[in-house]
């Protein structure tokens, strides 16, 4: 008694999780809630929401994680429930579909036959029941195309069957399983891969990827190789719209170049499962500075914003704070100059007016030779070991749809045998999709058989 109760209870739960009603409820909930993230700005700081929406709405936004709707606990729960729905539904229906699939369509009685959605019965006069007519009608039936099967002695007659697209039964499973495969690929990729950025000046190389997490903290992900930007190119159409962003990249392993590629926006570089995408660029001001040491040695240094230029023998370090291409007809730059000890100062350089910098008693002369722009390329970096599963799922999904849409399960039956005192012919048909076009074919077959009977 008790076990039956438990069984009934578990059946209720299983019924709930496998029901089409739950699927529909989830579709509607997902559709409705997905709107939120397209209307409310996503991924801003909490401060932003407090300032723009006031304290009441801020509370709702914060507790429901509406600042990141699609990764919020409740949205992910809906997706999780959706997956459970798919899994339970698939498993529960499997035996039923298997039975349908295995069922032999020849294994049916005359009563079954006349209960098919499409049917036609002819009763002929006894003199028409000859062998030749039998053969002719069989030939017409075969005109449907496909494999014909026969069973003798079905209530005193021969039963023929042409069955097409039986595996249409599995199309829906393809679709449902493929969605689970896509989810699995997405989850696997999220936990085993990463997404980050790299900003590289022309000529610069790095073996670290920057990743900014939800809280805005920068995390550095080390690579076991280096990537160098050799050159960056940007071109524009006459209208001013961008035409080309291109970075010439090299992969370096132990200082040696192992791979080289010019990447474009739609043409990334992959190495060791990590892919580099052309994402953004920045034009960085650059000042060319000449330094003369006390003993008369000279050195030209290219000083770029956000980077340091060095003259190792003297220990001097230079940085660019500001570059102005035209101050009273000449370029000017505000630079920082310093030593490893930490001493240093910021000074304005104007072309044609040298400045001095003292290190102890030695005096270095500094002059601005010129300036210009240097490019910094912005690369999106991604490692996603789950992406192949996503593509596998997508392929299955499309195949599933193709089967469901273009391969209807169609059956045509033809029974010929003796009625009470005459030849009887029964034509029957059934389809699970696209009744309209099936009906057309069926009526055509019906007419052809009719014509053959008429001629006899």
């Amino acid at each position: 008694m008790k076990s039956k109760k438990v069984e009934a209870k578990s059946n209720i739960i299983l019924n709930f999780f496998s029901s089409v009603k739950l699927a529909i409820t989830l579709f509607i909930l997902l559709a409705a809630t997905s709107i939120i993230g397209t209307v409310l700005p996503q991924g801003e700081t909490l401060q932003f929401y407090l300032e723009n929406f006031g304290p009441t709405y801020f509370k709702i936004i914060k507790s429901l994680q509406l600042y990141d709707t699609y990764h919020s606990w409740w949205y992910l729960s809906l997706l999780g429930l959706f997956s459970i729905n798919l899994i339970v539904c698939t498993i529960r229906r499997l035996p039923y579909t298997m039975r349908l699939y295995k069922r032999d369509a020849l294994d049916l009685s005359m009563d079954d036959l006349t209960r098919r959605p499409f049917k036609k019965i002819w009763k002929l006069r006894p003199d028409k029941g000859d062998k030749e007519l039998y053969q002719r009608i069989k030939a017409v039936f075969q005109g449907v195309g496909g494999r014909i099967r026969m069973k003798q002695n079905v209530q005193g007659g021969d039963l023929f069957l042409i069955e097409k697209g039986k595996w249409n039964y599995w199309g829906v499973y393809f679709i449902h399983v493929s969605i689970l495969v896509i989810f699995a690929g997405a989850v696997y990729g999220t936990f085993t891969g990463f997404k980050g950025r790299i900003m590289l000046l022309e000529g610069e190389s790095t073996n670290q990827v920057m990743k900014v997490d939800q809280a805005g903290n920068i995390q550095k992900i080390p690579l076991n190789f280096s990537i160098r930007c050799n050159k960056f190119r940007v071109e524009f159409y006459p209208s001013g719209a961008p035409k080309l962003f291109q970075s010439d990249l090299s992969i370096l392993k132990d200082g040696k170049e192992v791979k080289k590629k010019s990447i474009l926006v739609n043409d990334p570089l992959s190495y060791n499962g990590i892919t580099f995408y052309q994402s953004t660029y920045q034009a960085m001001p650059e000042a060319i500075v000449k330094i003369t040491s006390p003993d008369g040695k000279q050195r030209l240094l290219h000083v770029t914003a956000f980077d340091r230029a060095m003259w190792p023998e003297t220990g001097l370090i230079l940085g660019l704070i500001k570059y102005l291409p035209n101050v009273h007809g000449a370029p000017a730059a505000r630079i920082y100059i310093g030593e490893p000890s930490g001493n240093g100062e910021a000074l304005w350089l104007l072309q044609g007016h040298d400045k001095e910098y003292k290190v102890g008693d030695s005096i270095f002369r500094i002059s601005l030779v010129g300036g210009g722009e240097k490019y910094m390329t912005g690369l999106q970096v991604k490692k996603d070991p789950g992406v192949w599963m996503v593509w596998l799922g997508c392929t299955l999904l499309i195949l599933g749809f193709a089967v469901v849409f273009w391969v209807p399960h169609q059956r045509y039956w033809l029974w010929m045998g003796k009625g009470s005192d005459n030849l009887k012919i029964v034509l029957a048909g059934q389809t699970n999709k696209n009744r309209i076009s099936f009906e057309k074919h069926f009526r055509k077959l019906e007419r052809e058989i009719e014509n053959n009977i008429g001629e006899a």
Binding site: V20, A31, S34, T38, V265, I398, F405
Partner: protein, 280 residues
């Protein structure tokens, strides 16, 4: 005067307007000759539009850009109407029912009129920005719009179904296909559209992965295409729930198409995101 693609395409608008009017007359008076005329006008408009699209492609090569005419709002609207007419003509051919034309051609006509005469839509041929320079552009746009156009036609079926209501088979409503046939047609067109919407979303994902390294980034356009997908998934599953077939699916086919329109225009005009180049 040199004939430009824009000229041919704005001319097409009037063909579709005429076709819609003649289909309407056919529905009212049910004269076979009027019906045939409607089909002829529609096919003529379709051929004219095809020439217009081909010419525009050629013009883009003459300008030195050389890309398929599927790259901005104007071109996508033109393509939308082209596919809508194509899907409709297939349906007409298969069902031999011309009354459906009165519900399908207006969508194509409206899209053409908006493309050709709205001051918000520029008909100049623009070169492709780097993000759009990909072979996936053609696959993505064609598949998405096959879906959109099918949904437009399915929406037409939905409206017909609801108009039909519980009426008997007399008068204007009697000329509409039976509810059983409409239900089946609606279901078939929705599956067809759903298939192409799915392929459209997938090609978009493949492309995004190649261009930006993420196949899904919850950009408003992506999200709205998913919302649309959920609406039609509901319509497809509703058949299996008792009491949900018929009328509810007809409503869903209309709601779904509203969602399509929002995915298509609303996102461009009201929300910002990665698809911004589709808005001018």
């Amino acid at each position: 005067m040199q004939i430009t693609s824009s000229y041919l395409l704005s001319l097409t608008t009037f063909f579709y307007l005429g076709a819609a009017a003649i289909y309407l007359l056919y529905w009212i008076f049910r004269l076979e000759k009027v019906g045939i005329l409607a089909t002829i006008v529609t096919i003529s408009g379709f051929l004219l539009e095809t020439v217009g699209i081909a010419l525009r492609w050629k013009e883009s090569y003459a300008l030195g850009y050389g890309h398929a005419p599927l790259s901005n709002l104007y071109e996508s609207l033109i393509f939308f109407s082209w596919v809508t007419i194509l899907v409709y003509l297939v349906v007409e051919f298969k069902t031999k029912n011309r009354v459906i034309g009165a519900f399908a051609t207006p969508f194509a006509c409206l899209a053409m009129a908006y493309a050709s005469f709205s001051p918000n839509v520029q008909d100049t041929i623009q070169p492709l920005i780097p993000a759009l320079q990909s072979n996936w552009l053609i696959a993505h746009v064609i598949t998405c719009f096959l879906g959109y156009a099918s949904f437009a036609v399915a929406c037409g079926f939905g409206i017909m179904y609801l108009l039909k209501g519980d009426s008997n088979n007399e008068g204007l409503l009697g000329a509409l296909p039976s509810k059983k046939v409409l239900d089946e047609l609606m279901h078939q067109t929705i599956i067809f559209g759903f298939l192409w919407l799915t392929v459209g979303i997938i090609t978009g994902a493949v492309w995004a992965n190649q261009a930006w390294g993420t196949y899904w980034s919850w950009d408003p356009k992506e999200t709205w295409s998913l919302i649309t997908w959920f609406v039609y998934a509901t319509a497809l599953h509703a058949r299996f729930v008792r009491g949900w077939a018929g009328k509810k699916i007809a409503y869903l086919s209309i709601i779904g198409f509203i969602s399509v329109i929002f995915t298509y225009f609303g996102v461009n005009f009201l929300l910002s995101g990665l698809h911004s180049y589709g808005s001018s």
